[in-house]
Amino acid sequence: MKRIFLFCASTVFLVYVLAPVAWLVSSSVQQEAEITSRPPHWIPREPTLENFEAIFAAKEKQVTYETRRQGDPATGGYIPSTARNLVPAMWNSLIVAVAVVILNLVVSVPAAYAMAKIRFVGRSASIYFMLTTRVIPDIALVVPFFFFIHKLGLLDHLGSLVITYLAITVPFGVFILVGYFESLPDELDKAARIDGCSRLQTLLRVYLPLAVPSLVAVVLFTFLTSWNEFLLALMFTQTPASQTMPIIVAAFTSDFTISFSFINAAGVLAVIPPVILAVVFERYIVSGLTAGAVKG
């Protein structure tokens, strides 16, 4: 009885979570006419890759109000004028996300080790201080960040995003890793130093290999945060040279005409990198997210 209930409940939950994704994928290969049909076609009648073609071919095409009106046979004339910005924006997003992930690890791993294993004055104060920065909503920080970025001359530059995303993600990374490092016995640290490791070697040769699940959690969180971030990107970037994917995709909805199938195709592309990451690190994800929470 209990199992039947559990089975039903998890089925409902699964459908709830997966149905939108399925619809996203399905509609991205549908014609614009089909996508609006009622009842919706979960399985496309005439699957087409025209939307994806349009994304990758859009570079060469100059889509203007006039050319769009002439009617592009591929998309039924629904290509947004900013379509050709999508691929560069994906690159921008990727560059920013990868940079943030790498810099985040470079900063938060040693910081977390120090906070967990070295007793210095102000150690717990620094942990609390770092965490409090995270209870401030981003919207409150936008203006100070803006002035800061402006002073640095980084407006409309990817660097502005890297810096601010680090400010958002490093506290989280340190928090996860401090929790994990603290759960490892102090004596492990002592043993490594007696065995001839300097602090840095202790970190690299003993703690890092043990922390892989937590590192994966930090990498995923950081990557996704950077990949998704909208508000700050909207503020600090103005031209396609530095705009990221969420900005460009959002812009599609405010174009002359809205193409749902095209937007969904963009959505599918947006999902791919995180999915690849998740698949690669799959076996660490669950243990990483619970590490530190459960001692073991």
Partner: protein
């Protein structure tokens, strides 16, 4: 090989707690020294200072004649065995043992040889490819020992290495550690709160309390001539018994008196106790220092009532009421007494201790170890 000297060493933790105030200790080369004391007395702190895992906040530390205060742990020639073993969970047993040698840049061939030697010696050869979580507690303990001994360090430190083992294994490992010290010929500093372990292993015992050394001496000296009631109570099982009373002098003999009880103290005590008649003192009687004589001798006999009989296999413990105090004695199992019986037990007064009643300092202490 090294002599270790701590001079007025102090350790104040960042939270302001002074674990050690001013500790001076001179450990001879190749000596086996045991730091003994109750939980929280600063044993681990002292050991960590020697290892370089904590920094002294005052005083100095020397290995032979070199000041070590500012030398970090990884540059000191010390090895250490921890209570929790602290094996690297992601490395095989082989790699655990080899790690210290690798970090110190020994050639591969030599590492291999030393690890195999150590493994053979500790009988863990078949386990070399396993991970620590695939080992029993005793096996982990051996790996931890192996990791320390391959290093052939000048100083071998152990922090309660046996306290996670069961009783039988602990006694077996004691013997192995003693053997190890014999073959390695290096300086051992060993921390424990188990008095039996200390008495078995040590060349010299350092008894500590609240960061202060109470007494340093050979196991016999510590056991037979404790400097104060703290040291006396800490060693011995069941613990030493105390009887409060007075000193009395009669006919050139010095006695301990309490109510109807009067024990004549041995002649060699008189020099230190003469002229102090009337002084309130505590008599310390170790649990094993009584026996039953067919002819009770005056001045060496306790008359009392057996209040409980607790057989423990080889021996039995007697709860014994004397002059309103309850004492515990360990006697042979062929003594047949029942609860409530009145008996006379002879005391080995030659081993009785006399302490000042208020300070607990031994009145027999002559300043020697």
């Amino acid at each position: 090989m090294a002599r270790i000297r701590l001079e007025s060493a102090g350790k104040r933790y960042p939270n302001g707690f002074a674990a050690l105030e001013s500790l001076s200790l001179d450990i001879r080369d190749k000596e086996f020294v045991v730091l003994l004391g109750p939980s929280g007395c600063g044993k681990s702190t002292t050991l960590n200072l020697v290892a370089g895992l904590e920094e002294l906040t005052s005083g100095s530390l020397y290995f032979d004649d070199a000041t070590m205060n500012a030398v970090p742990a990884h540059r000191r020639d010390v090895a250490m065995v921890f209570q929790s073993y602290a094996l690297y969970p992601h490395k095989s047993v082989y790699e655990n043992i080899a790690f210290g040698l690798r970090m110190r840049g020994h050639p591969a061939g030599e590492i291999e040889k030393r690890v195999r030697d150590a493994a053979r010696r500790l009988e863990i050869e078949p386990l070399l490819e396993r991970r620590p979580h695939q080992l029993s507690g005793g096996q982990r303990q051996r790996v931890a020992l192996g990791r320390a001994l391959v290093r052939q360090p000048a100083v071998f430190l152990m922090d309660e290495p046996l306290s996670n083992l069961d009783a039988a294994l602990r006694i077996a490992m004691r013997a192995e550690i003693k053997q190890l010290h014999h073959t390695m010929q290096t300086t051992f500093v060993y921390v424990t709160h188990d008095q039996a372990e200390a008495l078995t292993l040590a060349d010299r015992i350092v008894v500590m309390r609240d960061g202060v050394i109470q007494q340093i001496g050979s196991p016999e000296a510590i056991y037979d001539r404790p400097r104060n009631t703290f040291v006396a109570s800490f060693l011995g099982n069941p613990p030493i018994n105390y009887l409060e009373g007075f000193l009395r002098e009669k006919e050139n003999q010095i006695c301990f008196a309490r109510g109807a009880l009067s024990l004549i103290l041995p002649r060699q005590y008189s020099e230190r106790l003469r002229g102090q008649a009337g002084r309130p003192v505590k008599l310390g009687l170790r649990a094993e220092e009584v026996d039953e004589h067919s002819v009770p001798r005056a001045g060496e006999t306790l008359h009392g009532r057996v209040s409980s009989v607790l057989p423990v296999g080889s021996d039995q413990y007697l709860g014994f009421e004397v002059e309103g105090s309850l004492l515990f004695f360990r006697v042979g199992r062929d003594l047949r007494h029942k609860e409530g019986e009145h008996v006379a037990l002879s005391v080995n007064v030659n081993r009785a201790q006399i302490f000042d009643a208020s300070t607990g300092e031994s009145l027999l202490w002559d300043g020697s170890a």
